[in-house]
């Protein structure tokens, strides 16, 4: 089922492959991590610089301390020397040597402290010289007091050269202090500046990190929601597809391409097997078939795996598990992945047993029909040759009877009496009537056999021709024939001509004995049909015999009353029936008759 799901997912959302927001989130968080690293580096560097600054402050303080030490020691020396000059007391000289060594060592210390600063080195060198001069002068003063006494030494004091040295020392000291203080200030300012820019850069970086993380998170969240929705719609779609598959009337079965075991199936297939699908899934269909069926099923499975097209097994006769033989129409196809590897075999079958049985039945019926058609054709041919014989062989003796009767009348008429003449005349009338009957019967049979044309027919013209013909041929009182405007019909013109001739001829014949014979021909449209009518004011007929009107040789009037063979209306009926039309008649004896017939209307352009 997994592969099926995969396929459904793949098919239902073909854009999923391109849609990869994971990349975006990965990029966003990578950017954030890089920013944090940059922040750490910047911070570490700032911390390092800060530590240096502290060390520089300490250094400055150390320098200032040393300068102060030198200054204090020098001051001590000078105070002691002054006290000795004034008093001459040796005890003031006891501290001097120690103080001088402090001054000298401190000066060296200072020089070491400021090795990185050439200007300070120069100043310190100058300071060293000034200190040495001062110390030398002090030493000289002590010596002078010891040798030349108070006045000589005091004169030095008074000369002011002492002051001069002291001032110089002070001056240089101040310059050193000032330099160091300036440096300290400068460094403190730099420190402050770098701290500001650090705060700015760090703030910006933090803001960037926050923005990146936030953006990445937003995308991640949107993606999660979209995925949830997709999962929902996929689930719905899958259910829908499963329902469709389940309710398909065809027998559907999905097999594993390797083991040929059933992976899934629908209800129709389950029913056909006659057992729950739990017993079927995971097993090969062949297990449930007869050996022949199993072999053919296996063959089509392999065929399907070997090709890309659908394998169609149009007539697959199988024994159903319930023992009945059924005819299946099976199609199999190997559903493949993108690489062309078969994922599963899809098999769809229809039970066409009923259809095949129907087809067989239709074939049998057709064969029967063909046979009947052949029989009918044979019968028709027989009838045709019979008609021919009738017309040829039956008429020949009739001609002989008539011809020789006439010869008898012509050649021996003088020797025959009136009664013999009447007999011979009756024989001739009888033979002629029989000839007429044969001719009419043949005409009637021809109408049934001749092919029917289907074309628009000008019925008004035909009716008028027939009326003119009837007047010309008719005997007795010439009737008034009124032909109204008649719509065209569809059919065979020569056969419909026959209809008009017979109906109008009849109307003329049966109205010939009234004082003012009238024949009216009219028509009305009824849907796709036209109903034509021929009405006369003649003898009419009794409606209780109406059913006999259209039968062959059926007559409702005596031969002596109105002559005829009784075939004319039978011919009309046959023609109208062949046109899929209807014909009927109404009459009251003594009040004329109305014949109506309905045929298809010609569609006028």
């Amino acid at each position: 089922m997994n592969s099926v799901e995969a396929l459904i997912l793949q098919n239902s959302n073909p854009t999923a492959r391109r849609w990869m927001p994971e990349n975006f989130v990965v990029i966003a968080f990578s950017v954030a991590v890089i920013l944090i690293l940059v922040l750490a580096v910047v911070g570490a560097r700032a911390l390092t610089r800060s530590t240096l600054t502290v060390r520089w402050v300490e250094h400055t303080h150390a320098v200032l301390h040393k300068v102060e030490q030198v200054r204090a020691s020098l001051s001590d020396i000078r105070t002691d020397v002054q006290a000795y000059v004034i008093t001459g007391d040796e005890k003031y000289l006891t501290r001097r040597e120690q103080a001088v060594s402090i001054v000298l060592s401190s000066t060296r210390d200072l020089q070491e402290l400021t090795t990185d600063n050439p200007r300070q080195q120069a100043r310190l060198a100058e300071l060293g010289r000034a200190i040495r001069e001062t110390v030398d002068q002090m030493t000289m003063l002590v010596v002078l007091r010891q040798t030349d006494g108070f006045n000589a030494a005091h004169a030095i004091f008074a000369s002011g050269s002492m002051e001069e040295h002291t001032n110089k020392v002070d001056q240089v000291q101040k310059a050193v202090i000032s330099e160091e203080t300036d440096l300290l200030d400068q460094r403190t300012r730099d420190e402050l500046d770098s701290r500001h820019s650090l705060i700015f850069v760090a703030g910006a970086l933090i803001a960037l990190v926050i923005a990146t993380v936030f953006f990445g998170f937003a995308r991640l969240r949107a993606e999660l929601i979209a995925r949830q929705r997709l999962a929902l719609s996929c689930a719905t779609q899958q259910k829908f597809l499963e329902a469709v598959l389940e309710h398909l009337p065809a027998l559907v079965c999905v097999k594993d391409p390797k083991s040929l075991e059933i992976v899934t199936m629908n209800r129709a297939m389950e029913r056909w097997f006659g057992r729950p699908r739990e017993q079927l899934i995971g097993r090969a269909t062949a297990e449930f078939f007869s050996s022949d069926d199993a072999r053919s099923s296996l063959e089509t499975d392999r065929e399907a795996l070997a090709q890309l097209d659908v394998v169609v097994n149009p007539v697959d006769i199988r024994t159903a598990p319930n023992g009945t033989r059924v005819t299946m129409y099976t199609r199999k196809i190997a559903v493949r992945d993108v690489g062309g590897q078969p994922l599963f075999i899809l098999s769809i079958s229809d039970d066409i047993s009923a259809k095949v049985a129907d087809e067989q039945r239709i074939r049998e019926l057709n064969a029967t029909l063909e046979q009947q058609k052949a029989d009918l054709q044979a019968a028709n041919r027989e009838l045709e040759s019979f008609s021919y014989s009738v017309s040829h062989d039956l008429r020949s003796p009739l001609r002989a009877i008539d011809g020789f009767s006439l010869m008898l009348l012509e050649d021996y008429g003088a020797q025959l009496d009136a009664e013999a003449h009447r007999y011979l005349t009756t024989i001739r009338a009888g033979t002629q009537r029989m000839g007429q009957l044969i001719d009419d019967l043949l005409a009637f049979s021809r109408i049934g056999r001749q092919p029917l044309k289907d074309m628009p027919v000008d019925m008004e013209k035909l009716a008028q021709d027939a009326a003119a013909f009837a007047v010309r041929e008719g005997s007795g009182t010439a009737p008034r024939i009124v032909v109204s405007s008649l719509p065209a019909a569809r059919g065979d013109p020569s056969l419909l001509q026959q209809v008009w001739q017979n109906l109008i001829g009849n109307a003329v014949k049966y109205s010939s004995k009234v004082s003012t014979p009238l024949v009216e021909v009219a028509a009305r449209q009824e849907g796709d049909e036209v109903v034509y009518s021929v009405r006369d004011n003649g003898a009419g007929f009794d409606m209780q015999f109406a059913h006999k009107l259209f039968g062959v040789f059926q007559r409702l009037h005596g031969q002596d009353e109105f002559p005829g063979t009784g075939v004319g209306l039978a011919i009309v009926h046959r023609i109208i029936t062949r046109h899929s039309g209807r014909i009927w008649a109404e009459s009251v004896p003594g009040h004329g008759a109305t014949f109506q017939f309905a045929v298809r209307r010609a569609i006028t352009a």
Binding site: Y388, S396, R399, D402, L406, R428, G435
Partner: protein, 149 residues
Amino acid sequence: MSSFQEIDILYAEDSPTDAEVTMRALKKANLGNNLLWVKDGQEALDVLLGRGQYAERLRTSPRLVLLDLKMPKVDGLEVLRTIRSTDSLRAIPVVMLTSSAEESDLAKSYELGINSYIVKPIDFTSLSDAVARLGYYWVAMNRLAESTV
């Protein structure tokens, strides 16, 4: 004349009664002189082609041929076909006599080139009328004969 027989009309008809009635009608219309009646199509062809008993008996072809459509051995249609496919006979007018106006027979007759046809009526009077109409061909053939002499 002696052994040679000049005939104007060759009439092929298998029914003796029909033949008698028709020949009476022809005589009445003055067309019955020099008429030869044969009983089937084969005999008609013997006459026309000078075969068998008719060899050496006819000097000229008949001026008109009347053929019954349906005859034993060789029917009217076959005789007609032979006439129309033989150079010396092709110009002879042929009138077909039929028992009925069955379309297929008539259609074939016209295809093969008949000049006219008569549906043999039962009424002798009608037959006489129809035969009288043959006079048209008779007159036409006489003129042709005169012009060729």
